[in-house]
């Protein structure tokens, strides 16, 4: 969940535009396979979706979804969300919301930090349920060539690391690499607001020593972790989740190569951050209780 394209100079589109309009060159889908080329497994995802994710979505977080029709029914789109909590359940819940509530359910690709690819166990599980490393080339391929839905958290690690007392205050949105990615792929940006994740796993502090020992990118102190061991990491409090999809921002109407205009990229990035922040405050203000 890091900002896209911030530190990388290479162009994500291979060899410019000559291959962009050649869908016939994309590898065909082999029906006999249970995995796709990214390593996503229908079997593993389907099983988790019917059990664990279903339980959390329906009975534990009792997700309430608004504006799901703002997610396009076809073509690529980049979903942009705020991020909260130690082990953020929000990405999985947004994916589940689209599968459950959308008129045309579609799979959602969740960009994750490169760290997951290098951590034993997680590196096997994360790609199987639709996690893909947040490399600009990966995002471009998914959006432009495969016309998929991709979810990014522009706050990156800063969002997950922030403490409970800073809850619902959006962190800096990187350098707007995600906006440039959407512009380059000519796909709309869909802002998404999530409320409830901050209370589901409040982070009271973090331990630098244990970070180094466990080789985790950060080691949070939560009501259940590390006191109850690794399982404490999956113990979410039953806060009620509210997910609101906002009106999409069309990048196709911004002219030729809007991604080259750094000012425009920054302006769009700030605009999205402001819209999400405003709606998050609105949603927090509306709810009568964290739990109901």
């Amino acid at each position: 969940m890091e900002q896209l394209g911030a530190t990388r100079s290479e162009s994500p589109g291979p060899q410019g535009s000559e291959l962009e309009h050649r869908p016939d060159l994309m590898p065909p889908i082999e029906a006999e396979r249970t995995l796709d080329d990214w390593g996503r497994s229908e079997r593993v995802e389907g099983f988790l979706d019917a059990t664990l994710i279903e339980f959390f979505y329906r009975y534990w977080f009792r997700c309430e979804v608004e504006g799901v029709e703002n997610v396009p029914a076809g073509g690529g789109a980049l979903l942009v969300s705020n991020l909260a909590g130690a082990l953020p359940p929000d990405a999985v819940m947004i994916g589940k919301a689209i599968r459950e509530e959308h008129a045309q359910p579609r799979p959602l690709w969740m960009t994750v930090e490169h760290f997951f690819k290098g951590y034993p166990g997680l590196s096997m599980l994360v790609p199987k349920i639709g996690g893909v490393p947040a490399h600009p080339a990966n995002v471009h391929r998914l959006l432009a060539e495969e016309q998929e839905l991709v979810l990014v958290f522009p706050e990156g690690r800063k969002g997950a690391e922030k403490l409970y007392r800073e809850r619902y205050r959006l962190q800096r949105f990187g350098r707007g690499g995600f906006v440039a990615s959407a512009m380059r792929a000519r796909v709309p940006l869909v802002p998404v607001c999530v409320v409830g994740a901050e209370e589901a796993m409040p982070v009271f502090g973090r331990s630098r020593l244990l970070e180094r020992l466990s080789r985790l990118p950060y080691f949070p102190i939560t009501p259940t972790f590390p006191w109850f061991g690794p399982l404490g990491m999956a113990a979410f409090l039953p806060a009620r989740f509210k997910i609101r999809f906002l009106k999409p921002i069309d990048t196709a109407a911004m002219g030729e190569e809007p991604e080259a205009d750094r000012g425009l990229v920054q302006a769009v990035s700030q605009e999205i951050r402001a819209r999400i922040q405003e709606n998050v405050f609105d949603m927090v203000g509306e709810r009568k209780s964290v739990w109901r």
């Binding site: 000559e18 590898p27 006999e32 080329d37 690819k117 290098g118």
Partner: protein
């Protein structure tokens, strides 16, 4: 470095330019390696090719009909004389060592870096007849790292400097080729970066590992793997030799598989034998026990690698097999192998016999048409 990335990007612009690049007189370096032999056999079937000369420091390992073999090491003065004397217009360099278990690090470096520079020097003379240079490289050029893209395109560079000696050799050799391409604008230069090759006759560290009763994995990792069938690599080299490809191309079949998927297609069991921490330390005693896992493979077993193969497909190349089909062919071969064992006849190069067959007036020759049977090797 700027020259090199330009070289990667100018691919299509250059290919469009008119140039007389029809291969007529071909030099194959590394004739005695697997790829050199396979390619020479394939080229013998093309009537448009007048002459095929093969050089290597060892005797050929495959039976060849009309290829002239010259035993010479990578000495540029000698090769230059051969190139000039035989008016060679196309040089195909298949010598690159991409597996560190096949030879010592020093000899690999000697062959990969110094050898490539010598071959390039032999084609660089002011009156050199060489118009086309084809270089077989490897996807090890990209390495395997945590922050890699899911699919490497030809214009991308590896995010970190090479970690193993063999990867450094490949990067250095390609740098020499790119430098040559920059200095000799009139020479068509094609670099083919091949993914892991599998097939019934090629022997690599991966085919060895996949022939074990249980396939070792790194505990907690299920890397993405992309393969290419050995016949597709030969066809790709053929296309580069016969056509006017200019630039860098990934040669990799469609489809990226997870290692667990590969193992189940082979009908084998995975053993998470290698620990995620201290993998390099465990690999050493395992090598003693006979499980030779090269250093450059350890990172692949952890992070895997995918390649964007569209650029080469855009030139009109058709792969015979997908990654999945390649693995399934290997599985079929593995099941049939015990039945066929001992029926393949080995080939031994005898200079006098070859000379007699090629030059004696007593031998009836039916031009190149008789070599058709040789073109398609026995494959399963």
């Amino acid at each position: 470095m700027s020259e090199r990335s330009e070289f990667a990007q100018e691919t299509s612009a250059r290919a469009a330019r008119e140039r007389d690049v029809a291969a007529r007189r071909v030099l194959v370096t590394g004739l005695s390696t697997y790829w050199g032999g396979r390619l020479a056999q394939a080229l013998e079937g093309f009537d448009e090719i007048d002459a095929i000369v093969g050089v290597d420091s060892h005797d050929p390992t495959r039976e060849l009909q009309r290829t002239e073999f010259v035993k010479v090491s990578n000495e540029h003065a000698l090769i230059e004389r051969i190139v000039e004397a035989a008016r060679i217009d196309t040089v195909i360099d298949t010598r690159l060592v991409v597996d560190s278990t096949t030879t010592s690090a020093q000899r690999a470096h000697e062959n990969n870096v110094i050898g490539t520079m010598n071959i390039l020097a032999a084609c660089s003379g002011p009156s050199s007849p060489v118009r086309k240079f084809v270089f077989k490289s490897s996807a090890h050029y990209y390495g395997c790292e945590q922050d890699d893209p899911g699919f490497f395109a030809e214009s991308m560079r590896r995010p970190h400097p090479p970690r193993t000696k063999i990867e450094r050799d490949i990067v250095d050799a390609e740098a020499a080729v790119a430098d040559f391409a920059g200095k000799h604008q009139d020479v068509t230069v094609a670099v083919l970066r091949c993914a892991n090759v599998l097939g019934p006759s090629v022997r690599t560290s991966h085919t060895r590992m996949f022939s074990l009763p249980a396939v070792p994995m790194l505990l907690g990792f299920d890397p993405r793997y992309q393969f290419v069938h050995e016949d597709d690599v030969v066809h790709a080299l053929e296309q580069a030799a016969m056509g006017d490809l200019h630039g860098i191309y990934n040669v990799a079949a469609d489809g990226v598989l997870a290692l667990s998927e590969v193992i189940s297609l082979l009908g084998k069991r995975p053993v998470p034998l290698l620990p995620p921490v201290g993998t390099g330390l465990i690999a050493v005693p395992l090598r003693r026990l006979g499980l030779r896992i090269p250093n450059e493979m350890l990172n692949q077993l952890r992070f895997g690698r995918g390649l964007d193969n569209r650029l080469f497909k855009a030139t009109g190349f058709k792969y015979g097999y997908t990654s999945r089909e390649t693995v399934m062919r290997l599985a079929a071969h593995q099941r049939l192998h015990p039945v066929l064992k001992g029926t393949e006849s080995g080939y031994r190069y005898e200079r006098e016999v070859e000379d007699f067959l090629k030059r004696s007036p007593l031998v009836e020759r039916s031009d190149s048409s008789g070599s058709d049977a040789q073109r398609e090797p026995f494959g399963i």
